[in-house]
Symmetry: C2
Subunit: 102 residues, 2 copies
DNA sequence: CACCTGCTTCGATAATTGTAGAAGTAGAGC
DNA sequence: GCTCTACTTCTACAATTATCGAAGCAGGTG
């Protein structure tokens, strides 16, 4: 019970940084095929080491998956995880009274 | 453009802590009337000062609104902000190619 | 008008997170 | 097998965030 909450908090925390949120959106917009680290760097403009740290955080949180192909690294969104996360926020909305909210 | 991203990152960051996520869900489940700080404390079990700090963070991020009535403080969810936030994550999904994801 | 309740604000300390240069690695090409 | 590209990992320092006791404050109540 708490485990699920902690996991979702970790995911939200991973998204709770301007650079990582920009990365996630860019990768989401790029679709299931994935986007290379280089393309992401071209978008967010920062040292590779810093970018890599942020990408690792997103992968660890389960928001992105990564796959290496030749010497490129592709990052793809985990749509299922993202959907579960957004749904979680609305779960049991107003069950303790009230209405007309969701 | 970046302002909106920064704002949403701030909101996600506010939700990215187990205690605050638990608070938000509890308040969301409590409906539009709001939930008192005392009721929230009964749920999350922690010193009042720490709780108050977390509540302030959620209000500052615009996820909750607060209202004082007698000597109780009511916290209510900002459903509009929450909806905009969850929608934002999916905005322009796959517009750079790919399909079958959203 | 003391004084109690229900919370917030202050202040200090501990813990986590962000940043980026330098060094390391895996694969492609000559 | 050297070298270049495309990243990642290491390391260290800076900045932010979390926690909670103590003090403060705005209503109510006797």
């Amino acid at each position: 019970m708490t485990a699920k909450l902690d996991r979702h908090a970790e995911q939200l925390s991973a998204l709770g940084h301007p650079v990582r949120l920009a990365i996630l959106r860019f990768v989401v917009q790029g679709g299931p095929e994935g986007t290379t680290a280089g393309d992401i760097q071209g978008r967010v403009k920062m040292p590779a080491s810093t970018l890599s740290h942020h990408l690792k955080r997103l992968v660890d949180a389960g928001m992105l998956t990564s796959r290496g192909e030749a010497n490129y690294h592709y990052y793809a969104p985990d749509f299922r995880a993202l959907r579960m996360l957004t749904d979680y926020l609305w779960e049991d909305c107003c069950k303790r009274g009230g209405e007309g909210c969701c």
